[in-house]
């Protein structure tokens, strides 16, 4: 065989092997965490090992639509995980434990199922025993009906309530606020000479006095990012996924027990006064922490910090009371 022919074959072989081999090698050496919609697999891998005190470098990419990444109960900016692009992120865990990471950009009805865990090992064991959440220590049955039997006509006025509360020197400590529903406080004022409307105004003021503009702003942001897609931007339970939830609820609940359970899938309407004014912050905390057990309501216990949940709850009451938002 001629040398030229031999050389050509050699070059072609090397070129083909090179163009297959090199990318394959580099590809196999690049561990990437892939994000997909929950229906298509969620996070791969969904369990990540890390060590306390050592930085954890992650490469994240999305295989379909826009996703986000954050670690629950951690003070960090969520990062976007864009389709076809790689996001580098470095995390530092000081304490060992199991952390939950989750998708932060809505990616469909099952967005909230996109979660995984980071198992942080380490010798640092001075863990404080976790104190039970308020709804547990108060021994609340968070699934029991709790509707207020009296609701105001129209939205109570905070400014009116403020002067009335001053005049009658009425206040509500934070502990009382957390454990009482607006209706209970309203009911507690029944022996005064105030009209019903005035009493509601005072309740509105007392609720506002137990929150801050910063907390409300934080709650508003948390609500928009995590809750509004189902509960609606105006709290009316009419978010963009409300219909889809009802539809999937119907499909999954039908075989279980009758038509009433289907209703469980409808997102709660925070503008429903009976429901909201009968709910204590501690009760709402329980519902948020635990989630809806079979309804579309996710459990947020491993995601939100306690402070975030109280901020969110403060914001939820703003659908009832006229806070300056």
């Amino acid at each position: 065989m001629k040398r030229a022919e031999l050389l050509s074959r050699l070059i072609v072989t090397v070129a083909v092997v090179g163009v297959v081999g090199t990318p394959l090698y580099l590809w196999s050496r690049t561990p990437i965490i892939h994000a997909r919609m929950a229906e298509n697999g969620g996070w791969t891998p969904d369990v990540i090992q890390a060590e306390a005190g050592k930085p954890l470098h992650l490469k994240l990419t999305s295989d379909d639509v826009m996703h986000g990444f954050a670690v629950g109960q951690m003070d960090m900016e969520a990062v976007s995980v864009e389709p076809g692009k790689v996001t580098d992120i470095t995390l530092n865990f000081e304490k060992p434990g199991i952390y939950t990471f989750y998708c932060t950009r809505w990616c469909g009805l099952n967005h909230w199922r996109m979660r995984g865990t980071i198992e942080v090992s380490g010798s640092n064991t001075d863990l404080k025993p976790a104190s039970p959440p308020l709804y547990v220590s108060l021994n609340l049955d968070i699934d029991a009906p709790h509707d207020a039997t009296v609701v105001p006509n129209g939205q109570p006025s905070v400014s009116n309530g403020q002067s009335l509360a001053m005049d009658n020197s009425i206040s509500l400590s934070h502990e009382e606020y957390l454990a009482s529903s607006p209706f209970e406080v309203f009911d507690g004022l029944k022996n005064s000479s105030l009209t019903e409307e005035e009493r509601w105004d005072i309740v509105a003021y007392l609720w506002q006095s137990n929150t801050t503009p910063d907390a409300l702003a934080n709650g508003k942001q948390l609500y928009a990012q995590n809750c509004a897609a189902c509960h609606g931007e105006n709290g009316a339970g009419d978010g963009v996924f409300a219909d889809d939830l009802a539809a999937t609820g119907e499909a999954s609940m039908q075989t279980m027990s009758g038509a009433e359970n289907m209703m469980m899938q409808t997102p709660v309407d925070f503008t429903d006064s009976a429901r909201m004014l009968g709910a204590t912050p501690a009760l709402l905390q329980g519902k948020i922490l635990r989630g809806g057990m079979g309804t579309g309501m996710p459990m947020w216990g491993s995601i939100f910090t306690e402070g975030q949940i109280w901020d969110l709850i403060a914001y939820l009451y703003s659908f009832q009371f006229e806070y300056p938002k």
Binding site: E5, V19, V20, L26, T61, D63, P83, K85
Partner: protein
């Protein structure tokens, strides 16, 4: 207008005669092709960021339809890597013919397949799945690999480039539209060919192979089936092969008589219009139907697609050109007058592709720097934001292409009509109506 023989220039002649420049291009193309297959399989499943989708359906497509086909005819076929592995296997060599040829079957392709119907079918098969094919990297890879392996397989069974000539889904329309291109390969002197013994250009010799495209260069009158592989330049003992620069649309003066080619015109015309409506239109239902392969709505879409191509378009055309009394058979007039649709169809594709390509061209920069979606940034362009290009001149350019195509078609129609002793008016009106629809779809 006179033709210019490009290979009178000794530099061009030598570059074409030598096998090395072509081999160098082939290797680059083959490497790119294999990389595209690999990228589609292991890279990100996000089409707009995967090398396979971006380089095949945006970069390659843009070059093919906006430059290669209109200006170089089968120029793409001249450098296409798909037939190479099979051909090397078949020939037993990459360069000049070896002393001993390998013993493959070397069968002749059966007569019933020696037309472009298989190409019409293979194009339609891809066209019906195009929404998935265009957007899913691993599907694109599978199709690319399937073409490569089909070409290898056919090379071992049949003689010459059976895949290119009879099966390639792209080759069919490149051939059809290459008739309009200002470049051609022809013989210089007919007598030299008549006297030539052994016809090495077709049968091969010790310096080169017989025409891979199963064409006798001495009989070439149209570009349709000449793959510009330049093999006959190497084998011709009389230096009788010329690569000419010529006026646009020269081959269209010789209308076709073949139904497979006539229907190719309708297939291309129809698919350009359907794509313009489905992919670039504002109708979400159509997109859903086209994308959800296997669903009921997709079957309706596929049915309508085929009905437009094989029913509505040729039907209206037939109604227009129907005449009770004409000495020339209807079928022949149908085929002949369909030649007018060649420039129209090509310009429809140009207008459609302009929009698609200019909108998505910025993905090329991203995919170039990070072809597999692994977070690389090879040329510091990985983070280029998506941005449509030249949006202000898009609509005028599309109008120019479509109206230009219409004039071109009308003139072609006139030539074809003269040949078959009929009026060109129905065809011209037909072309005008289709152009108006296309304008409405795109603008």
């Amino acid at each position: 207008m006179a033709k210019i023989e490009l290979n009178r220039n000794p530099f061009i002649e030598n570059a074409l005669k030598s096998r090395y420049p072509q081999l160098a291009v082939f290797i680059v193309m083959l490497v790119g092709y294999i990389f595209a297959i690999l990228a589609g399989l292991i890279g990100t499943p996000v089409g707009s960021h995967n090398f396979s989708i971006v380089f095949v359906w945006i970069a390659w497509w843009a070059v093919l339809i906006l430059v290669a086909v209109p200006f170089f005819g089968r120029g793409w076929c001249a450098v296409c890597p798909i037939p190479l592995p099979g051909e090397w296997l078949q020939r037993g060599a990459m360069l000049a013919p070896p002393n001993k040829r390998p013993k493959w079957l070397n069968l002749r392709v059966p007569k019933m397949f020696r037309n472009i119907w298989l190409q019409n079918i293979s194009f339609l098969l891809l066209a019906l799945f195009s929404s998935v094919l265009l957007t899913t990297p691993n599907i694109t890879s599978i199709v690319l690999a399937a073409m490569l392996f089909a070409a290898i397989g056919l090379s071992t069974i049949f003689e010459r480039r059976a895949f290119c000539r009879y099966l390639c889904p792209v080759g069919g329309f490149i051939g059809l539209y290459s008739q309009t291109a200002p470049i051609e390969l022809r013989i210089r002197d007919k007598q030299a060919c008549v006297k030539c013994e052994g016809k090495p250009c077709y049968n091969g010799s010790e310096v080169g192979y017989g025409c891979p495209w199963d064409v006798f260069p001495g009989g070439l009158t149209k570009n349709t089936y000449c793959g510009l592989c330049m093999e006959c330049i190497r084998t011709c003992p009389h230096d009788n092969i010329a690569v000419n620069l010529r006026p646009f649309s020269a081959d269209l003066a010789k209308p076709t008589t073949r139904m497979d080619e006539a229907f190719k015109s309708f297939i291309m015309l129809g698919s350009a219009m359907i794509y313009a409506g489905v992919l670039l239109g504002p109708w979400g239902m159509l997109k859903d139907a086209a994308y959800n392969v296997g669903s009921n709505s997709w079957f309706v879409y596929a049915g309508v697609f085929l009905a437009i191509i094989f029913g509505v378009l040729p039907g209206l055309f037939s109604l227009g050109i129907y005449q009770r009394q004409n000495n020339i058979a209807f079928k022949q007039r149908f085929a002949s007058l369909s030649t007018a649709l060649i420039p129209l169809g090509m310009m429809f594709w140009v207008a459609f592709s302009l929009s698609f390509v200019l909108t998505n061209a910025s993905y090329i920069l991203t995919a170039l720097s990070d072809p597999l979606g692994l977070g690389w940034n090879l040329f510091s362009t990985a983070n280029t934001a998506w941005q449509p290009m030249l949006t202000s001149i898009l609509a005028p350019a599309q109008t120019l292409a479509l109206v230009g195509g219409l004039i071109w078609s009308a003139r072609t129609a006139q030539k074809a009509a003269n040949e078959s002793w009929t009026s060109s008016m129905p065809v011209i009106v037909y072309c005008f109506l289709l152009t108006s629809v296309m304008l409405w779809l795109l603008l």
